[in-house]
Subunit: 303 residues, 2 copies
């Protein structure tokens, strides 16, 4: 997807929020924001994705602040909260579900949604139970089931720290049906995105067949920049699971691969691309999305 | 007040929202946002107020879009909604109030708060009644009363269209106590700020003794740029009423004049300057604010 008018102020807001997490002064924050404004003026590529452009925004932040991984503490904290929740998720949600595949998909989406900053585990458990009452705007379970063929491989592209623990259930479902699972994480720190370190500390690494990385701190997936191992896993796999907004932003429009997007549409531009409402939960097959887009274009031409 | 880190993304958001009101395409909006990013990079003056800097942002918008008054239709609509509400405000709120001065100040603040985009007059009337239950973070009525001396003059600096109708009650209170009232409005269109045209169409012009303007489209008041009539009214007046955020941003820090600020603190930077919470309602004497700021500084030095 392309850059929307909302994305430009959002880039500056991301700098501000990251600066706050890193404890920078207002003066230093404004200095970095102004340098990012220079990037927006001179180097923005509006025809590429918001995630693509945000990558350069966060590189400017890291260079000017001298902080390579501003979200390190937060990521560790979110992993630890998620790990404490794991037995509850397993016993109260996953094992009690009539349709475990559906529950596993919902748990994976919940990881993208849940506010790990919420203080008590009591509040989190309430938030989780409420979440399971919320319907999805799209839920392509029947299509996914056609891809669950024993011996085939899936490439599971993770999103954030903390969230990665919630991905375990869907990975387990795939493994139990005889599929191989390759997990993809970021190659270097950016935002609160999961890296190899997070996959290992949350023990997600122990239930997958292989881990590859996206090669660097690119926000989302840049198929031109990914390392050889990622390229091979991409070619080899029968289908892809793509978690979160940035992976969607950068993989949207690719149709020579079967991709299932799991995310919450957290901003209007992404909701518009998905033909859904802001805040909607999404489990959507990319060729189903293609159908929707083609129908919308036809309707626009007619009107 | 100075520019905060929040202000920089807000400048781009103001462009985006104004472009939406004016019906510009996404491509044109992004083009203008990028030019504003150039301004942020090269010309921002962080030691001056957000309103000061936003003035140049909106001048870039007007120049690049070729639209001199993007909020014209909205301003007319808001004036018309406010005029329809006026009899209700008078009969149900103002005339029924035990303390009419307090009610008039609250009505003036309500004008800064009310969402004129709300569809039905029924909802607006409910919103108004709810508003009167909300306490103010500061309410310097006792101090204002000391300034209500017959024969003296006040300079009443207006904020938005629509809102200006809600200012009539406080202006009436001043007139009934024998004061002269000079109304100040913007000298040229910017945002939804009231101009002479709005003062005339809402008949606020008929109840004041004189109207002056701030001279141009500056967001707030720039005492170095205002025309001679404004300067004279400023010098002559016994006290000033300043409505809304931008007038506060640009008049904050002036203590050789007695100023009463009436506004809702709509963003964190303004709330921080006012030592209040985001969303708080404010009726505050500038020398009371000076006391608060001095006490805060002392407390910071001690800690």
């Amino acid at each position: 997807m392309k850059v929307y008018p909302e994305c430009l102020p959002c880039f500056l807001n991301q700098v501000r929020k990251t600066a706050k997490v890193a404890g920078l002064s207002d003066e230093k924050t404004i200095e970095i924001e102004r340098e990012v404004a220079r990037f927006i003026w001179k180097e923005l590529e509006p025809d590429k994705s918001p995630g693509h452009n945000a990558t350069f925004v966060h590189r400017i932040f890291k260079k000017m602040s001298g902080i390579k991984d501003p979200y390190k503490n937060l990521k560790d904290k979110y992993n630890s909260i998620a790990l404490k929740l794991e037995p509850f998720l397993e016993e109260e949600i996953y094992l009690k579900a009539k349709d475990r595949l559906a529950a596993a998909v919902k748990l994976a989406a919940l990881g993208n949604v849940i506010d790990f900053a919420v203080p008590s585990s009591f509040d989190l458990e309430r938030e989780i139970k409420e979440f399971f009452q919320t319907p999805f705007a799209y839920f392509d379970e029947a299509i996914l089931e056609r891809f669950l063929v024993s011996g085939k491989e899936t490439l599971y592209i993770a999103d954030n720290a903390g969230e990665i623990v919630f991905d375990k259930f869907l990975i387990r479902e795939f493994k139990e049906r005889g599929l191989k699972v390759t997990l993809a994480v970021r190659g270097a720190p950016v935002l609160n995105d999961a890296t190899v370190e997070d996959a290992v500390s949350t023990k997600v690494s122990e239930i997958v067949d292989a881990i590859v990385t996206t090669g660097n701190d690119y926000i989302g997936v840049n198929l031109e920049e990914v390392p050889e191992e990622f390229k091979e896993a991409w070619k080899r796999c029968f289908f892809v699971i793509s978690k979160g907004q940035a992976n969607f932003e950068t993989l949207d429009g690719i149709y020579d691969k079967d991709i299932f997007f799991i995310l919450k549409a957290k901003c209007r531009p992404v909701a518009k691309e998905l033909s859904c409402n802001l805040g909607d939960l999404i489990f959507l097959y990319n060729k189903h999305l293609l159908d929707i887009k083609e129908r919308n274009e036809e309707a626009e031409e007619k009107s």
